[in-house]
Subunit: 424 residues, 3 copies
């Protein structure tokens, strides 16, 4: 590793409530081929030479975070829990004590659930412009609901949060990959902003204040990036990671190999006659692809069974998922879920409109022409049951046979008729 600038401590923001990720949980810990996003993130940075990590997680996840950091090869990692949910500023404040112990070092602030290619971090750590602060920015071609950089000459003069379409100050959108030549002025600015108003935008206000005193430069990132915000973003991340692995741009997870046809294959996989696995696809360790099944554009977790006659298209299956003659399209099924024979995900509206979904109580448009379901861990569906596009099933729910599910089902619910969740 050639270090063109002083290697920073890394502050990894991996907290937050993941409400909008329901029925999935804990975005930074969400696994792809056995590796969660936090692990991948730390591993990427450790491979570039970073040694000191401060990882902020929500209470209860400290133990898992320690294991993950260790497994990812972090030389030294401090795990900090963030008690309240007040976003990035709260996370920085929570991390302050840990930062103090590191002395006067540069700081690289990142977010585990923002999935980017390693080249972004490499550029930020090695090739970034010399300035007090460097802000990674993605060049966007159409409007994006994020923070736009205001660029004056070589400097960033400010960030405009979610401008109206048409009034964007640039085509550069702020990514949470922020380099500060010293952590203390940054942390002080955050503390000041937070003291002023303990609101959601304290981190952004701190940046704005700092930009008045110090030089900030943008580093434009041209690679892929995908934030894990809504649960269907799992599909985009899986797609991106399979692409990275297939092209050899990132180290394959342990025990995986890329077949000649581009399929990424785990150990001890059993593929039965008459089945088809079409790249891009990843088949986890010990998984079973039954007779006459079809897997394409999908990630199948370890020990999952894609039984006879099933089709899995553009979907994510966690570990130990059991299918039997189903169609799973544009859908996410978390660990330990199952569908009985003939159960299916409807993934396309008959009226052809993009698929809406209910997120934290509000109806939003996913923007996807095809979107199936998202099923929380351990939920089980009966035979010949259909889930409507964009409808989600909570963890541990039990859904009976021959039903149609047209509304989100809470975790642990037991649904045996169409009365409550099947209405149109």
């Amino acid at each position: 590793v050639v270090s063109a600038r002083r290697l920073p401590a890394v502050l990894v923001l991996a907290g937050g409530a993941s409400n909008r990720f329901w029925p999935l949980e804990d975005k930074p810990f969400f696994p792809f081929a056995g590796v969660c996003l936090l692990e991948r993130h730390v591993r990427m940075l450790a491979a570039l030479g970073c040694e000191r990590f401060v990882v902020v997680v929500r209470p209860g996840l400290e133990g898992r975070a320690i294991e993950v950091a260790r497994s990812a090869g972090a030389a030294a990692a401090t795990i900090v829990k963030q008690d309240d949910a007040l976003g990035m500023a709260g996370a920085v404040l929570a991390a302050r004590f840990a930062l103090e112990s590191l002395g006067e070092v540069p700081l690289y602030v990142t977010q585990a659930q923002d999935v980017v290619e390693p080249s972004l971090h490499e550029a930020m750590l090695i090739g970034a412009p010399s300035a007090f602060g460097t802000i990674a920015a993605a060049r966007v071609k159409s409007h994006f609901p994020g923070g736009y950089l205001v660029v004056e000459g070589e400097r960033i003069a400010g960030i405009v949060e979610k401008p109206a379409p048409g009034s964007e100050p640039s085509d550069l959108v702020n990514l949470v990959a922020h380099y500060f030549a010293s952590w203390r002025p940054f942390a002080d600015a955050v503390a000041a902003a937070y003291a002023e108003a303990a609101a959601d935008d304290a981190y952004e206000r701190a940046l704005a204040a700092l930009m008045k005193r110090e030089a900030f430069r943008p580093l434009v990132y041209e690679g892929r990036w995908q934030a894990l915000k809504y649960p269907w973003h799992v599909l985009d991340v899986a797609d991106m990671l399979m692409d990275q692995w297939r092209r050899g741009r990132e180290t394959l997870p342990e025990g995986y190999e890329v077949r000649e046809d581009g399929v990424i294959m785990g150990r001890d996989v059993r593929i039965f006659p008459g089945s088809h696995v079409v790249a891009p696809a990843l088949i986890g360790h010990g998984a079973v692809i039954g007779h006459n099944a079809l897997v394409r554009g999908s990630m199948v977790g370890a020990r999952s069974v894609v039984g006879f006659g099933s089709e899995v298209a553009r979907s994510y299956l966690g570990e130990g998922v059991e299918l039997h003659h189903n169609y799973v399209g544009d859908s996410v099924m978390a660990d330990g879920t199952s569908m009985g024979f003939g159960g299916t995900t409807a993934n396309y509206r008959l009226d052809g409109r993009t698929v809406p979904s209910t997120i934290a109580g509000a109806r939003i448009d996913s923007g996807r022409e095809k979107l199936g379901t998202v099923i929380g861990a351990g939920a089980k569906l009966g035979v010949n049951t259909s889930i409507m596009p964009g409808v989600k099933i909570g963890a541990g729910a039990i859904i009976g046979p021959n039903l149609r599910i047209n509304r989100d089902v809470p975790g642990g619910a037991r649904v045996l008729d169409d009365d409550e969740y099947g209405r149109f």
Copy 2:
């Protein structure tokens, strides 16, 4: 083309309301492998040397008729619209003005939706007996609800419409392929009969009157013929045409080839591994046969997708039809229709009786042991929905998921529960 008799003008009856053809429309314009029956009809006669055509269509279809006649290679075609629905006599009257302009020529009266082999027309135009009139007749082995010829010596003495079974005057049934040595006495007779009583049987009364004055002889046709009356007759016509094409008895539609196994294959077809196409079958240009699908005894229209795990048996799919893991058996799906995963056509009654259907408000017996559904253009069906035998779906209808449809659904209807159409 050897012309043993003077080549006639051809009057093509292509009007009529097609009520009994619902939810399909406009029988003469119904396409098979991109060629509608009217086009095939005109093309066949043009190939035998006929040059002058008068085509009677219902109002609104004049433009399409012109295009079709041109595309079929008619040297000169006059399109006539028939305002009222009073059957064949009305059509002849409507055509009179056009006939006048042709001068004193023989006339060959035919019907586009009566599908016969080219040999019938060849015999009528070249080898027919010399007489004022020649009536094509099919020899039938069992009772048929049509007009039976009364034959005396070499002459036809009359036609008995729909005699009771057992009292048929012969085994020869009148086909609408009538040659008259001159059009004028025929048209005059029709006008006289119509003036006498503007009823449905005016054409037949005109023939009866003419037969008293002029010699009529039968020309017995031993080939296949199939009238397109009820919508499921599309299946019989498709079957007949595939047979003609496969045996090389008729020119293949443009761009098609017969594979060694007898399958008629269009251009740019994609056939995925594990699928099976079994002759007789025709796969239209740009169609997709997905993994592990089965097509047999069926015609699949251009750009249709027979998705993963679907079976299409003895059926007709129009253009742009989308299937996904369905069974379509003994059924007709018009252009732009689709079925969600697991949707199916029930095509066999559990009591084993022949399948009834509702035609123009009346319950009739189709006489078929196996009959699935007929789906009008653009209708879309949800996942895991079943259509009962003989039940039809109107154009543009939207049918929700996990339903059973046991009654005809009107065009444009939106069906989301079993209350109205699912009762038994």
Copy 3:
């Protein structure tokens, strides 16, 4: 055949009401690959040299029993009908007149629906210990609800019926394979016990009385045995017989051959491309395995059709069964039954508990983690209909489409909605 002891007359108990076998009928006459259990039983004993058979059947089955005994190669068979249902003692009493005509011979009492390997009978007839009576006994490793032998030295001192778990007097369970050096003392003891009390246990009381006067010795049988009591035992018997045939331990039914891969294949079977038959499996004469179907661990009866895309796993299909894109798992479908497209047997409870079923009005635990359905002869199921685990369908029932069946359906019922049998 070397006969180490005097060859006995054989009393075959093949009566009884088969109530608990519903919706299947007449256990001794239940066929496997065209051979019913009674035929197999008599054939096995005839092959060992037995010539005289007395077969007790319930009224109405005498004719079938004669045919079966003849077909099985019994040199001399007397068929006796048992009018009342009073178990084994009643059967012995009914047989007395027939036994008298045989003179003073030893007697071997057996039961046709207890399926054992031929080695048991061989041991009983040739290698059994010398004593007045020999009782075959299975050594069990865990508690079994049967009669346990009380063994004192080399003698059987008694039989304890259904002892509480933990208080079994031995690990030897009484099988109905009882040898008596002379039939008369045995029959007298049964008559005396019956006279004392015409109750269900008269046979057992007779044995107990005899054991006080005569020496009885156990013959321990280490092979497989399977009583046909509940209808799902058909699956165990089918499994056992396929194993016997495959290993060459029993003569294959007429016309069958074992393929190199272990599949037992009948005559004139048609196997379509893309289908898979995985041993253990037996495919009956004239059966059809459609495109892309899968059969494994199953017996498929003669002339059955396993249509396109169906899966039959660990199941028994009788003769002339018709499937079309179904899943039949851990299920029994009797002769002439059928399922429409997409119909399925749910064979696993979503709560993971062993599957209960209703037997003669009482709810019992089958002890099976996977159990589908049992369908009586001639019953027909509509498309996309699901049968819940352990639920049974009576002979001749008609079940409509898109239903879920969660309660046993009586024979001949016509079920068109979920109201009565679909409730949860």
